[in-house]
Symmetry: D2
Subunit: 339 residues, 4 copies
């Protein structure tokens, strides 16, 4: 079969011929229908410092995909040949403290398919049966191929109450944009979004944001406080990883609010803990990956019910050049260190 | 001023002339713009056994209303003359155990305006400032007059997670119908509704229910189990108070599900605790009134944002005859003992 | 090896010679150090109706035990030969809705080792590695052999807040007694216990109950309401399965309280839903098994830290006659249908 | 009556004659039995920059006390003359967003008795009835006079699950020491404590800490990771406000853990958000004041039940010199900006 692989410890990827993966008793072999390029993939392509420390060539990339089950291992019961599926590509160990208390998504021994072992940029990919997520045939393939980042968004939005609450999305890369749609679908009363890029601000509007602000051109914090009667927003959904955006997000958060942080800063962030967290009685949550598998259950239920309109996100998929993919640079940065 | 009052311990109400209520330092006087007739009011009109034990004539009825602030007491700071307002008519004591732990809605010494003291079927009504809820002018008067039952619905739906979850509403009286709209607005993926009355089933569809069933004509439990892959619904929103509906609701609830009970049965209900609660690991919640005032904050945020379309509920308000009000008999029954 | 087995569909058990269990790649073979006789075992011995419907002889009984790992399968990483261990004997499927949302203890396809397949009344028992729970060597064997029922108690007590709260334990069989110790260790301010058996009431005192009542001889509800200033207890831990105890427990529960039901009634229980659940705004939880594996983590941490004194429970273990085991008849009843 | 007052905008306090406070209809007049000197009081005495910006002389200090009700206003029902009481000295407005959603402790318009209006360093103090907390006569006066800081500790420890969990207290000033006692009483399996002061480390042991470390002399993070099998602690209770302690606390926190921050840093703290919060999936909580009044209910229940041994804290109260009060400098620092 064909596979897009990292063959050497150097810049680049190559389309190779590879053997069909051999599956074990509890594995599933999936024929890939569609896959997405994540920012992480671009970083591995470029062979940056992070990649050099993590990737052990040769390896097939690809960790966002959907496909059809081709073959199942002898002990597999829950999946059958012909099923339309996607997969959680984080493989947890099952026995560390976190796995034992229901927090498998932050397993101490996590391995990632498409990073640490052969992934989905291939005709066939091997996945442990436990990681397979069956998809309703009503879900389009293009949606099935972005469930990894969509799951990040669903995980972030639903990490606390959102119905009847105001929210601020800081950073409108793809996951930020998805978060807007998820927050609105789940009853957020007013969704604010901040973003310096004009094109993304336009998309934020399309995704359903009620108030979209450019923090480079206006005092976004003052605007948000004004619109909320001086109180601030109930929920901060931090998607940028940008220190200034994080700090402004905290200033716009109401006392008693929730700050859910998904964006990945590249350095330490000085926080005014006294005024922004402690005196505010705020709750700050680090968000990583997708809850295994509660996030998938929520996400696929919302998709099957047609509650999430993500069409604006697919508007630019015609551009074939890797460098100008829809995710953009910031997203890459985020995604690189997220995984 | 004119007021609709219960003057004697007997059937009937009368339109009387009454003095303007005198307000204390922490009270507010409101000029009533619109009020709703609750089933409880019909029971008091009819002078049933419950009324005989509770009502001390003379008293002005009316506990669902909105209006404009006419006058405020000397110590009132949060409300001013001219504000468009509604009110929580349950007045809590502030010092019992429940008031002390943030559960004022189940205060041990609750009094109800319009039941235990003069209410809103009058030109002017006196309300403690703490119970006043300011309304955005964008909220229509007809919505402002039904916030008491809408609050019941919001309280029930948001008593636990609803986003990305399936729900079953048993009983499509007005609060059941409102619950459908609230559940959909807050991200429920599939809302099932059961109701024996054909007209109400049609309204359930209008309110957004995905699957509407007539339990008198079909095996609703089997249908729901079938539609959920044998698992059952995540959330039961029990609005009927009918023992059979309650029992069927539990059978349709998935293991690990949430059953939120608002409807008021008139007698003890035999429950299969082993199979429907214990082995299921289910959570059952009694729901009463509205959380003070979290429910009001959520409800008014949803209304202001235009997230709740309740128009179908107002379609029949032209009928002037008290006996055929839109709430119907079951609702009366519920509301009678709810308050 | 020797094993205590059910060989035929009839009353009795027999001590048999059996082959050493063959283990798979993800299994562990454990040499049993100590095992407990559960009420369920007595029912299987007696071959009652439930046993006749569930048990498929021949099968080795025993689902409460501890031991030392003798051998591990090829893929087992988290356990090694010589480890002192116990095990969760409920084996979940991993792919049903409940397993997917973190509620494996109420898996739709649960199988029980010692009931549905060969158990721990044998020299050696085969257990899936995922179900093995490593025990600190400081935990005594007699404690290691009762972690299944102790886990029921921990699961029930910690199913909601308990610190600084009053609690009522209805029914002081072994799990009820354990619950007293757990509630006190976890900060319950006052633990009430009701029990008709004088010997058990004495043990309840020994376990740390603050107020022990005999509901057959005194008005326990009135006493509890009196001791709590008329408010009632914050938490009901229902351990009896007795309909009268359940009903009294609800009457003694405060508005806004939590009722966690573990005891198994043998028939439908008529509940005054209006006054005991709905108007009270109560939360009722069905409790089954042990959370996998959060309960085990909590339980073993408490044991390792010496926070639970269960010594009174072992006072009677010298009696070798099966019929008069320490668990008693009511416990059997409970345990029979619990598993 | 005599009162200890700040008479001028300058260093110092003076013992003055003052008139008996006049009480309103919903106020209570309390005869002070015992009062504590908080670090804040020392700062006001010293007239530091914070004091200069906040205090408007003349004002009577004192916000930690207990006493006996001398007189009640006409509308007061829940308190009567002769009651033994303490009080929450934070007075909330009742109508801001936070007050409306059950978060009165972070009210937007909070005023503090003893800071913003006359306090308890006087024979008599006026308190709104709603802020009065009745104390069981079994609670000693010396405990009654420190419920403000003890409430900080209870609020912090019980801001999330603690039973069966490991905890780290960073900073063993008085509130840190109290937190150790509270955590143990509420079922924490192992309490670690870090503190550079030898005397305080000894007290931490007395209060029940299992492992006490000196971060100036040993690698506390490595020790804690070692003792927890490399996992880290479940709960961080940050009581120091010291940036290094905060950073080390986060390093010692397990993935998925809870960090509850009470200590007040005097400057921005650079945080490694990626590794310490986001990838860890940690929850960080700002803790301020005491929940009104849930914390008081929990605290007084624990005290009445004798679950908290705070005797070591009173060992040094014989020293009459203000400068060497038992709270020490770090506590002052914390308390100054906490209030």
């Amino acid at each position: 079969m064909k596979a897009l692989r990292k063959m050497q410890a150097a810049r680049g990827l190559s389309l190779e011929s590879a053997g069909t993966p051999a599956i074990g008793a509890s594995d599933v072999l999936v024929r890939v229908s569609a896959a997405s390029i994540c920012g992480t993939d671009l970083h591995i392509y470029g062979w940056d410092r992070w990649s050099q420390g993590r990737i052990k060539p040769p390896v097939t990339l690809g960790h966002e995909f959907c496909g059809v089950v081709e073959k199942i291992g002898d002990e597999v019961e829950a999946v059958k040949t012909g099923d339309f599926v996607s997969a959680e590509m984080h493989v947890n160990c099952g026995h560390c403290h976190q796995c034992r208390v229901g927090e498998a998504h932050i397993c101490q021994n996590l391995k990632i398919i498409g990073i640490d072992q052969d992934g989905a940029f291939a005709e066939l990919v091997k996945i442990p049966a436990a990681n397979i997520v069956k998809l309703d045939p009503a879900i389009p393939e293009r949606y099935g191929a972005i469930l990894d980042p969509l799951g990040n968004a669903v995980h972030t939005v639903l990490a606390g109450p959102i119905a009847g609450r105001t929210a601020l999305v800081t950073g409108c890369g793809p996951i930020g944009l998805m978060s807007i749609a998820v927050a609105k679908a789940c009853g957020s009363s007013t969704v604010f979004a901040t973003e310096t890029n004009a094109h993304r601000r336009a998309m934020a509007k399309q995704m359903g944001a009620d108030v979209v602000l450019n923090p480079a051109a206006e005092d976004a914090v003052a605007k948000i406080l004004g619109e909320t009667g001086g109180t601030g927003v109930d929920v901060l959904l931090e998607m940028s990883g940008n220190p200034t955006a994080i700090q402004q997000g905290f200033k716009a958060l109401r006392a008693g609010g929730r700050a859910s942080l998904l964006g990945i800063p590249t350095e330490n962030v000085p926080l005014d803990l006294v005024n922004d967290v402690i005196f505010k009685g705020a709750t700050v949550q680090g968000i990583y990956g997708r809850r295994m598998y509660e996030t998938w259950v929520q996400m696929t239920a919302l998709l099957k019910a047609g509650r999430l309109n993500l069409e604006p996100l697919f508007g630019e998929r015609v551009n074939p050049r890797l460098e100008e993919n829809q995710y953009g640079d910031e997203a890459c940065l985020n995604k690189e260190r997220r995984r």
